[in-house]
Symmetry: C2
Subunit: 477 residues, 2 copies
């Protein structure tokens, strides 16, 4: 409207006006108040008006070498067809590809010891002491800085880890297999609440728990799984979404279903009943037990969509407490990173935002696979944990349909009339709409050795999606 | 508007019109179409225009002998303050007040053998054979008709039973105590799915299951409860409402939480591991296991509100497959009954409405206590079982706030922004608004010996509420 010259305004407004308004809605409202029909178009400039990004989208749309939409449909199809199963338990050194005694895996994209955040450093210290490679914090820090230890992302070894995500060679891990495509994924056991390695704690209590996982929980779980047979995680996740879980920060139903499924087999094991009771009590006391199962289930699922030429679907999102990184199906193993954000959420008594480490962990693999924050509409009670109102949970899920390419056929949300969860994030849609993936997550203390201080929602950095889009356009344009 | 005489209509419509319209909304719509402001009042005649009932409400409102609102607040307060706990397991003969070997308890209001519906007769036959009082169906029918067996409602013995609700003296029962008020309630064990006594089946398979409940499940559960200590059902029900259960027809979360709570104790029992594994498998295979716990929990809760002078709160709703009956707090043990309705719902393959027995069972005690159908907004996935859309589940709960006197402080519904469930049905409000309590329920086959054929929603007969209101007005007016 501002382009109408003043000396012609009288003429214009004398005629019958029918206005289509883009941009500021106030213009349309004022017109309507004057009695003129005005339609407000819900529109904003694509890519926030950034011509470099608009040009990248144009180049992708105009090129004829690959059919990006078809490639994305294939990527989504492979995710939807995936059937992740728990097939067993093993020692990381024995089962995780490329694992070595001097290798420490961590959450998120690659990061050097020097750039690691407090909780990741704390978890590395704990991991090295647990492995017997160091005796004290000081020894461990010296060793970590010496170059004698290699640090690599879990994601480079078909693995995922919550929060710090530290995996060392002696640790027991869940072994997952995608029954449709045969690819595998690995994850450590959840250590429970309180002082735990994944939140950067490394006290004797933390190490004792890690040893108990190795000596008691893992052998018992190995035998129970052998007696039970593979556990269909797609079926379990489908059920928990009908029971108020979203599979990332709310896992009460999932942990419950796993316990009831395994309990009859646990009872029959040739193990001391005290040991089995301790395993059952441990699972009962920790609703996040199931998180370390939804994560490798999600990893198994999205990995089936990796490496599809011309696909702009995001197959990895992960954070190490310093950087947030993503990988794109059609761009191989290349990471696009930006600064890890600060989580907006609820804090445990005595803590506040000033105590928080930046966003950390591979658990955002759940959102990448279409659950977690993307399925929050299934879990309205989660707002008691991460903040907000139940209506927000519905809105978050609805918004995610704007940036995804498919809807799950297995994972359905009762409150949305059993609509499938939004699945397969298209980096083009993220950049074009400016809608960032919704992630709910735990909050670690910024210092090594403290632990969990809260939970909430976090925004990934925009630039990694923009950089990925530009690289994608260059690769295929 | 129809009272405006034609010869004055011109004069009237020439003036500025501002219309308040009651009754048919079309009148207001037409006025608005002509440009006249018209407000439609959402109103319908109280009591459907029945002057006898309006008069009863008037008499209640005008009398000064008792403060009905205060009495109802007290009744609701006692329900909200109730803390039902599972305190143990016993043999009906030993623990249920007034139980005798020649007594058969059943669901619903009193009913003679001659008037019993098919599934209740089937369950009586099974109960008599189980007790060793008859050897065959024919012997049992003869005995039942002979007058040598007494039939009484579970509700006359502080007990409740799902569907046919048959309880005989040898049967093991859950023992509940209201930790706030000390009153107790009893319920049989849930027998699982398939052919079961509660749906009127009485084959050898059904009787074998009843014996297993007595010889294996009950002793194991007795020991596990002794080791665990009392189980707080109020806390468990509060949780399951955050996990997609409503406590009547959806009990998957409840059964899961009970298993995870008891499993560590079950493992430690000095019993053969095969027996414990069988108990855990049985619970895992049957999500209705928890129904036989929400029912006595609800019975414990509403019984605390019985016998309050001047209270028009409904403290019992129950059906025997022939009659639907209610009792009112201020009217003692008097039943008001009407014909049991036919359930509108989803049928198992091969069955249809022509196979259905009328509405049966004490499980509507859950609705009486403010869960079940009243909490359907917490359980949108239940529509897959009882029919309808998730939005209906929300609507059902919202409508129940119109006929209740309080909102639960413990039982909260995430989808309604954690609003407490509608609790304490006021018979005055039911009759005045014409809104009947929402009940979701299973459907039994009309013939003895068949079993479950579906599940759905059922309307209670209006007349029992009207009769209760009239009696209430007579009693206090």
């Amino acid at each position: 409207m501002s382009g109408v010259r003043a000396n012609r305004a009288g003429e214009l407004f004398a005629a019958e006006l029918a206005v289509v308004n883009l941009g500021l809605a106030d213009f349309a409202a004022n017109l309507r108040a004057c009695g003129a029909p005005a339609v407000q178009v819900r529109w904003k400039p694509p890519c926030g008006g950034d011509v470099r990004l608009v040009d990248a989208l144009d180049r992708i749309a105009r090129q004829t070498r690959v059919d990006v939409d078809a490639a994305n449909r294939l990527a989504a199809e492979r995710m939807l067809q995936s059937r992740p199963q728990i097939i067993g338990v093993g020692k990381a050194l024995d089962v995780v590809p490329g694992m070595r005694p001097d290798l420490v895996l961590h959450a998120g994209p690659p990061v050097t010891w020097e750039r690691m955040c407090g909780p990741l450093r704390g978890a590395v210290i704990g991991g090295l002491v647990y492995e017997g490679l160091a005796k004290t914090r000081e020894e461990a820090e010296k060793l970590a800085a010496s170059g004698a230890i290699t640090f690599e992302p879990c994601h480079h070894h078909d693995a995922v880890g919550p929060m710090a995500g530290v995996m060392t060679s002696r640790m027991p891990v869940w072994i997952f297999e995608n029954a449709t495509f045969g690819n595998r994924a690995y994850c450590t056991f959840n250590e429970g609440l309180g002082k735990v390695l994944r939140y950067g704690a490394f006290s004797d209590e933390v190490l004792a728990k890690l040893r108990w996982l190795e000596t008691d929980l893992a052998p018992v779980m190995t035998k129970a799984l052998a007696a039970h047979g593979p556990i269909d995680m797609r079926g379990l996740i489908a059920q928990v979404l009908q029971m108020g879980d979203e599979g990332h920060n709310r896992n009460r139903a999932g942990t419950s279903l796993l316990i009831r499924e395994l309990a009859p087999f646990l009872v029959m094991l040739d193990e001391p009943r005290e040991k089995i009771a301790a395993v059952l009590s441990f699972m009962n006391a920790n609703d996040h037990f199931f998180l370390n199962l939804t994560m490798p289930a999600s990893k198994c699922t999205v990995d089936a969509a990796r490496g599809i030429e011309g696909s702009s679907v995001i197959t990895t999102m992960a954070r190490n407490g310093t950087d947030f990184g993503i990988r794109i199906s059609g761009l191989g193993d290349r990471w696009f990173t930006g600064p890890a954000g600060i989580v907006d959420g609820l804090y445990l008594p005595g803590y506040g935002p000033e105590d928080a480490a930046p966003d950390i962990g591979d658990s955002v693999i759940t959102e990448t696979a279409g659950i977690g924050g993307f399925a929050m509409a299934a879990a309205p009670a989660i707002v008691k944990f991460v903040g907000g109102k139940p209506a927000d949970a519905i809105d978050f899920t609805l918004r995610m349909y704007e940036i995804t390419v498919a809807e799950s056929e297995s994972y359905r949300i009762p409150a949305l009339d059993f609509r499938g969860t939004p699945t397969g994030i298209d980096v083009r849609k993220v950049v074009e709409t400016g809608i960032l993936p919704v992630i709910n997550t735990g909050i670690a203390h910024r210092e090594p050795g403290v632990g969990m201080v809260g939970a909430g929602l976090v925004k990934p950095p925009e630039n990694c999606f923009k950089d990925a889009l530009l690289a994608f356009a260059d690769a295929i344009g």
